[in-house]
């Protein structure tokens, strides 16, 4: 049996109905994780670990804290308050510590003595100077799991490469393959298109959580260990079909990857997506179309023939879709087992009965904005979305609780550290 985490950090209090959630919905309760994350990938990983119940202590540079606090999209222009940072950091504890000073590094060591996992995106070249060289950390903390998450990993010829979201997306192969379908038809000469936001980095973060939890599972048997996670590797993994097809003799590109028919359809009041991979789904679509003569042509009962005549089918589908209303189409189509979905705007998602029924958003208190619903987690454990402890807080908001109450450093010492720019 896995031992429970020792000397647990002061956990965040959960608010409202969340407090009744079962412990199964917080499977990492009792683990203390130190997060040193300048980028989105590691911040997202920490966010997932926190919502699973771990006490995640985010270590930021003294002063204004992480640059992500001012990153787009914004909750407020002046001062710049980042919606991205708030989303990525809800539920964590916030301490500041300057690792460029010896006292700061000693403080981090103290924290790691009481933690089970370090999640770190410090560039490889910078680590030794901050006492974050993995071998040295392992000597000091043999039971600690050290998860390194970098754009291109901690080892290999590109380990020192710098990479932001756009670079990571293109390093993993999916960037080259975007867009397809209607977007590509309309703009075939434009450069490859990125996926919204920080998709590729969040894939890296999700992969890091898989590694972190796996290493915690193995910890009883092997103790701590270093785990090298690369956002590029994670994106290569989720894009694995392109590598498989290369082995089959097909080098995919965005111009040939499009589905031959279906895809994005413009309706009278928005967009739907439609995709019929199975014969019965096509037959359902024919019924949804009202069985027009062109769709009853015996030749296109054959799926290969449909592929060959995809352009013609699309012309019919697009003409028809423009006369339809999105919600009605989705409702009637799904009743006929036709896979289609509305291209939901944020407002649609927030107001959808499906969203409410699943409890996907929880209120958080944001300074100056009051109570705002925030997306909690992309998973439900033990029958519910896990509780969201609280909103992100200012840099160093938990300095007194962590450095003082938990680690036992008195107020005068903390004041001195503050004057010295250590915390």
């Amino acid at each position: 049996m896995q031992s429970t985490a020792k000397r647990e950090a002061p956990a965040a209090r959960h608010t409202g109905a969340a407090s009744s959630a079962s412990e199964a919905a917080r499977p990492l309760a009792g683990f203390t994780i130190v997060e040193r994350a300048a980028g989105v990938a590691a911040s997202y990983a920490g966010r997932m670990l926190a919502v699973m119940g771990a006490t995640v202590i985010k270590l930021e540079p003294a002063g204004e804290g992480s640059d992500l606090r001012r990153a787009e999209p914004l909750l407020s222009d002046s001062p710049r308050v980042s919606a991205l940072f708030q989303y990525l950091n809800a539920g964590k504890r916030f301490v500041t510590c300057d690792l460029h000073q010896g006292e700061g590094r000693r403080l981090l060591d103290e924290l790691l003595l009481r933690s089970q996992l370090l999640l770190d995106d410090t560039p490889v070249a910078v680590r030794p100077a901050l006492d974050l060289d993995p071998a040295a950390v392992a000597r000091r903390h043999p039971e600690l799991v050290y998860v390194s998450l970098l754009p291109f990993g901690a080892a290999g010829a590109h380990a020192h490469y710098k990479g932001y979201e756009l670079n990571v997306l293109h390093s993993g192969g999916e960037g080259y393959l975007m867009p397809n379908g209607l977007t590509l038809e309309r703009f075939p000469e434009r450069p490859p298109l990125k996926i919204y936001g920080h998709f590729a980095e969040m894939i890296g973060g999700t992969s890091a959580v898989c590694a972190a939890v796996s290493a915690l599972i193995a910890r009883d048997a092997v103790g701590g260990q270093f785990v090298d996670v690369s956002s590029q590797d994670a994106n290569v993994a989720v894009g694995c079909f392109a590598v498989q097809r290369l082995g089959d003799g097909v080098l995919e590109n965005r111009h040939e990857r499009s589905f031959k028919y279906g895809g994005v359809l413009e309706c009278s009041d928005g967009y739907v997506g439609i995709l019929t991979l199975e014969q019965r789904q096509w037959e359902g679509l024919v019924k949804l179309l009202g069985e027009p003569a062109w769709a009853l042509d015996p030749a296109i009962k054959d799926p290969l023939e449909r592929s060959r005549r995809g352009g013609e089918i699309n012309r019919h589908l697009r003409e028809w879709a423009r006369t339809q209303r999105v919600d009605d189409l989705v409702h009637r189509g799904q009743a006929l087992n036709v896979p289609l979905a509305k291209y939901n705007e944020p407002r649609d998602i927030l107001e959808a009965e499906q969203t409410k029924a699943r409890g996907l958003f929880a209120p958080v208190e944001l300074a100056g904005l009051g109570s705002v619903p925030e997306f909690v987690a992309p998973f439900q454990l033990a029958g519910a979305v896990p509780p969201l402890a609280h909103a992100a807080k200012p840099a160093g908001a938990d300095n007194a609780a962590i450095w003082g109450d938990w680690l036992g450093h008195d107020a005068s010492r903390r004041e001195q550290w503050k004057r010295d720019g250590i915390i």
């Binding site: 787009e72 894939i203 999700t206 079909f241 925030e374």
Partner: protein
């Protein structure tokens, strides 16, 4: 404890060694989840029937060609058995498999496992501490729980596809990466649930909706909308305030490089590395806000420079100067990249025909508990004898009779 070879690669048991997964998943998202668990060392038994095999195993013509184009990579590393769940004896055998497993994974439409007599509640009666993960389009609850879907539709419903596209264009399909990111998220959640079981003895049911996963990738936009009433719109490759931030045409056919400059010092480094001091003197590009305002002109300038050079040369030169640049990798680039080979994410594997193929391996490098890909895609039912005989203890004549009765089918 693991040892290391000359390359520093850990040898030893994966972190999930000794864990068995009864894998009822189909298509892409669910199988990818189970595949991740197999890379971590779990023994994953894929359960299918010849009556209705995984559609991704069957050739399908959506891309205009017939072939199982989407199967091998997520079925590799697994064991395969045939089991007809429409027969009561098939269901009984499935329960025996669950009884010797720690994790159950399924990706039927909500309600199907229940109709088969394999709901979480009934499997709990078979094994009280079972951890079960269900992966579906919209989840096990809510009015849309029965909705059918594939990757682009998950991206649509969850808003990710809506926000992806050009400012003057339609929303955009998110393809297999949407399936597989759902599978990766499911793996993350079920690992946590399994760890909880190890610590407490308590199993649970994990519910993953691809729609919710897509929404998690736009959590920042959702929060901005909820707080302010406005949200980001489709914006092509733009990232507000950042320029250069684009994909630039290079020498060669359909060759591109991604370049991102996040601050003034990176901009200065870029201009110096490109040997273009005139860019630094240009008033339009002097500050971040000016570069953003004049990004179309800036992109045109940069393209004039990049299209004379290869993407690889540009990436090397800019990275040496501390600027984030990387070629837009095709699958060929990925397969041939020494960095990825060194990390083991691209690795050779013998196919069923004995051909050495490059495949995508495990995306993690554990120092002591290595994750790895070891076996090619199994044939349907390839491991019937091992699983039903060695594992469940059925005699060979019993197995034969079950095959004749189309239970093992």
């Amino acid at each position: 404890m693991a040892s290391s070879d000359a390359r520093g690669t850990a040898k030893g048991r994966g972190p999930l060694e000794g864990v068995r997964v009864a894998d009822f998943t189909l298509h892409a998202a669910g199988p990818f989840c189970a595949h991740m668990l197999s890379l971590l060392g779990a023994q994953v038994i894929k359960i299918e029937t010849a009556e209705r095999p995984d559609i991704f195993r069957k050739p399908h013509p959506v891309y205009g060609r017939m072939g199982a184009a989407s199967f091998d990579q997520v079925a590799s590393n697994k064991l395969s058995v045939r089991l007809n769940l429409k027969q009561p004896r098939g269901v009984a055998l499935a329960k025996r498999l669950v009884a010797v497993s720690e994790i159950v994974a399924e990706s039927f439409r909500p309600g199907v496992m229940e109709r088969l007599g394999l709901s979480y509640q009934s499997l709990r009666e078979t094994k009280h501490d079972i951890v079960m993960v269900s992966i579906s389009a919209c989840g096990q609850t809510g009015p849309e729980r029965g909705y059918a879907g594939y990757a682009p539709l998950f991206g649509a419903a969850g808003g990710l596809g809506t926000l992806t596209g050009y400012a003057d264009g339609p929303p955009t399909e998110i393809r297999h990466v949407m399936d597989h990111s759902t599978g990766l998220t499911a793996a993350m959640a079920v690992l946590a649930a399994y760890l909880h079981k190890r610590r407490t003895g308590e199993g649970q049911h994990v519910d993953i909706a691809a729609r919710d996963v897509a929404c998690s990738f736009i959590g920042d936009a959702m929060l901005q909308f909820a707080a302010t009433g406005t949200s980001p719109q489709r914006a092509g490759n733009d990232a507000p305030g950042l320029a250069p931030h684009n994909v630039y045409r290079c020498a060669g056919d359909d060759r591109w490089v991604s370049i991102v400059v996040a601050n003034d010092s990176e901009w200065a480094a870029f201009a110096r590395a490109a040997d273009r001091p005139d860019w630094l003197a240009d008033e339009r590009f002097r500050t971040a806000s000016e570069r953003w305002r004049h990004r179309a002109a800036l992109d045109a300038e940069i393209t004039r420079w990049t299209r004379e050079r290869t993407a690889e040369e540009i990436a090397r030169r800019l990275q040496s100067a501390g600027v984030a640049a990387f070629p837009s990798y095709s699958a060929q680039d990925i397969a041939e990249d020494p960095h990825l080979a060194e990390r083991g994410i691209i690795t050779p594997l013998a196919s069923a025909e004995g051909e050495q193929r490059k495949v995508v391996g495990a995306p993690w490098r554990f120092q002591r508990t290595p994750a790895r890909i070891e076996r090619w895609t199994p044939k349907l039912g390839e491991h019937n004898d091992h699983v039903f005989g060695d594992l469940l203890g059925l005699a060979s004549n019993e197995i034969r009779e079950l095959i004749e009765a189309k239970v093992i089918y």
